[in-house]
């Protein structure tokens, strides 16, 4: 088990690369979601303002 994680002395390099990749993937998803939420909210606010104005 430990040899699996040691990756022949290169463990730190291999795992940090994969870890960084996972983080970046999550960051991409999070960024896309956050942007979508912002746009949704902006449109909803506008629609509500229009409705109350009518």
């Amino acid at each position: 088990m430990t040899e699996m994680f040691a990756m022949g002395n290169y463990g730190a390099y291999v795992w940090s690369s994969f870890g960084l990749t996972a983080i970046v993937m999550l960051a991409c998803v999070a960024q896309a979601r956050s942007r979508q939420r912002t746009v949704y909210q902006q449109i909803e606010t506008r629609l509500k303002a229009m409705e109350s104005a009518e």
């Binding site: 390099y13 960084l20 990749t21 979508q36």
Partner: protein, 248 residues
Amino acid sequence: MWTFFHKLASPPHFYDISARFIPWFAVLGLLLIGYGTVAGLFFAPADYQQGDAFRIIYVHVPAAYLSMMAYSIMAVSAAIGLIWRMKLAHAVAAGAAPLGAWFTFLALATGSIWGRPMWGTWWEWGDPRLTSELIMLFLYFGYMALRAAIDDTTKADKASAVLALVGAVNIPIIHFSVEWWSSLHQGPTLVREGGPAIEPAMLYPLLAMIFGFTFFFGALLLARVRTEVLSREHRARWVRNMMMGESA
């Protein structure tokens, strides 16, 4: 069949149709990435020269490949938007940029981590491929900065499109840099005469990762373009109907 593509150019249709693709792309991508990761980390044999460090290839190559593909998508969409005035094309370019920047950063970072044990250095300033990839990261930043600096969407679309096209000259340079100049970075392993220079047990996880990341990128790109379309078309009736329909 052509009607399908024509319909795709219309924002409300694109918004509907793309929603169906995203879950498929995401699931397919994650499955391929899952297989590639497990097979690449634990089942592929260690490289006789690099030992287990070579396994970084399974994240570095997909990231590098996608960084260039994202820029190509950005440049081609920009050209389509400029020539045929398709608003959706501009939205695709806008959506691809942040993703491309992330993948470029990832390619540079994983490459640097890989370079430390293999080449003895975190960075090699004289290397043409590293330098041209770094230039591409700055090009992405410039593209996003220019978009952000121009308030009017149409003007921002066109200006950033010109910029994307000017910077597109960098893409063949990145790809051919290892052939044209002497570089620490190794030459092409997959796309070369005589076929891939890598054994199957190592190759299949790599292909899985490349395709997996591509699907993952596709899902993210569609999601971002949908948001972009919504933001641009926020005054349109179809948006209003859709939002009211949802809150009903």
